[in-house]
Amino acid sequence: MNTIEKLTTTDKIFKLLDSNSSNHWGEEARVVAKEAFLKQGIPSRKHEEYRYLNLELLLKDDFLVTSSKTLTCDEIAHTQVLKNAIVIVIENGKYVEGHSKITLPKGLKIIDISKASSDVIFQKQFAKFADVNTDAFIAMNTAFATGGVFVHVEKNAIIEQPIHIIHISAASESLLVNVRNLIVVEENAQAKFIESFETILPNTVKIITNALTEILVQSNAIVEHNKIQNESKLSGLINTTQVYQKKKSVFTTNNFTLSGSFVRNNLNIVLDDEYIESHLNGLYLTRNNQTVDNHTLVDHRKPNCNSNELYKGIIDDKSSATFNGKVYVRKDAQKTNAFQSNKNILLSDDGTINTKPQLEIYADDVKCSHGTSTGKLDEDKIFYLRARGLSEASAKKLLMHAFASEVVEFITIEELKNYIETKISERFE
């Protein structure tokens, strides 16, 4: 019975996407990806990497793949958190130039991904990093993506303004969006990105977004990638970030999951050269019936690299959070420093946290550590603050804020930092 249902979900989704597919950019990759998708199928709960998620339930609705709703400027305005940024708006899985605010500085190129096929760099780098045979959602996305952007930062260019990619969807009927971005930061270049995810929808339908961003960080380049996941109720997000780093590059990702009923993050970083630095930071604040699942993979392939990972979560109500962090240190990757930490605060008796740090080390001269902790708010700290006149509620608020702020501190865009701080404060009101 289960097998039949599983086939049905996969087949149903495939049929839906395939019959509506009019996109031919990246055609070569699409053909391979379709096969890979069918071969893997929508993962069931028996799949080791998806055991805490009920995807069949999530995908059982009748979905459309294009929305009849278009967004007004007002609806988009609140998502623009920075006064001074290059804004790329992607609506219902497609780049909308009219809503974007782009004044290109020297060294930066932004192209609608569906029109990027003639670009030489795009041809060379598109779909080269996220492997369709490793994950069904990578395969689905590669086979059926409807749009997105290709961002190229030229060699030696320093882009001062943050580049904000806003993914926003609106629907009156359930919608399945496959959106795809490629970011290439060339040698010795620097850029800061924000990707935010928002949805506008009535309480009767859902939007599932399968978003994939590939990021190539060439040698000596420095890239900061911030993600704000702030979707409305009944929204589901499967968000893959696939990063490939070259020699002496520095990549930092800060991931903030603030809302949305279902969020799955797959963050995969390959350190394929020497003297690379990678920083992975995440904060998830969950409540109600939310499910947030962070899977990270740091693949140390060469010697003398550093990776640092800190994921923190505050889990309330009946929500559930998963942290699954893998660090591979391959045989050649001597002198690797890899650190990983996952800390959680459980506020309710019904909340769940599944945490699974995994280190797989095949080199013998490395420094690696991982740690995880889950607990309630510290009673001694609460008492200390109350003994100074703070109410129990303000004491807890202050402590939760302090716990969360450690992750916020990694953001180097001051305005974004303030925005996230405000969001966190509002959350604990």
């Binding site: 001694d380 200390y384 109350r386 003994a387 100074r388 703070l390 303000s394 302090a402």
Partner: protein
């Protein structure tokens, strides 16, 4: 100001305080001394409202109010201040921000408007001088990475900011070298007035050279077994706690 009558308290079913009686009036400094395990810290915790302890008998009246019925924050708002023996480190919570919240919640309790930002900053500046607290420490996370002496100075700084009616100093001298002890004691002395009172809890007499008590009480096995003036502290220092044990025939 404070009247403790026949106070009994226990933790996990074990009775620690076994009938404490104490009267503290405005303008007075009381020292409570006693050997380890006599119940000194339990007394301060019970007065501050730590919930781990069960009060099984007795009452505590503070300025006409039944203190034991108040939450820890309301005790603070009524003017009780506990300088902790082991101040906790709170990473991510800035010292001044937390004090600002504390002051404004106390003001709200009294029906007052929040303090103006510039008045608050002026107050911080004035009070940190009192305990020679580095401006940088005032702005750092609460006690995070502070030395033992800095933590104790920070307690007195907070006390100076909150201007309590009754300050309870729980072994504030422990872990302090003589210079830090002088600074801390100097701060406490400058805050003393005819309207407030201080309870100094200590194992050793040395602190009392700097904060001179009007009364000295000896706590032993959960009861005050002897009271006197500052000379009692000197006698204790000289003869050790054994003389009390002998005297009461324990």
């Amino acid at each position: 100001m404070l009247t403790i009558k026949n106070l009994h308290a226990s933790i996990d079913g074990k009775e620690i305080l076994r009938g404490i009686n104490l009267e503290v009036k405005a303008g007075e400094v009381h020292a409570i001394m006693g050997p380890n395990g006599s119940g000194k810290s339990t007394l301060s915790s019970v007065l501050a409202g730590r919930e781990d302890y069960d009060v099984t008998e007795g009452e505590v009246i503070f300025n006409g109010k039944n203190l034991l019925e108040l939450s820890p924050e309301d005790r603070a708002r009524e003017g009780v201040f506990l300088a902790f023996q082991y101040p906790v480190e709170i990473p991510g919570v800035s010292n001044v921000n937390f004090l600002k919240t504390a002051i404004n919640e106390i003001r709200a309790y009294k029906g007052l408007d929040p303090m103006e930002a510039k008045d608050f900053l002026a107050l911080v500046k004035e009070k940190q001088k009192l305990v020679e607290l580095d401006g940088k420490l005032a702005n750092r996370s609460v006690n995070e990475g502070f030395s033992g002496g800095e933590k104790k100075r920070n307690e007195i700084f907070q006390m100076a900011m909150l201007e309590p009616k009754l300050a309870i100093l729980d072994e504030t001298d422990s872990g302090l070298d003589i210079d830090a002890l002088r600074i801390v004691a100097g701060g406490v002395n400058k805050l003393k007035s005819k309207d407030n009172a201080t309870i100094v809890i200590t194992h050793y007499q040395r602190l009392l050279d700097y904060i001179v008590p009007d009364f000295v009480h000896v706590l032993y096995k959960g009861q005050i077994v002897k009271s006197g003036t500052k000379e009692l502290a000197l006698e204790l220092e000289e003869k050790g706690y054994d003389f009390i044990k002998e005297e009461i025939g324990a």
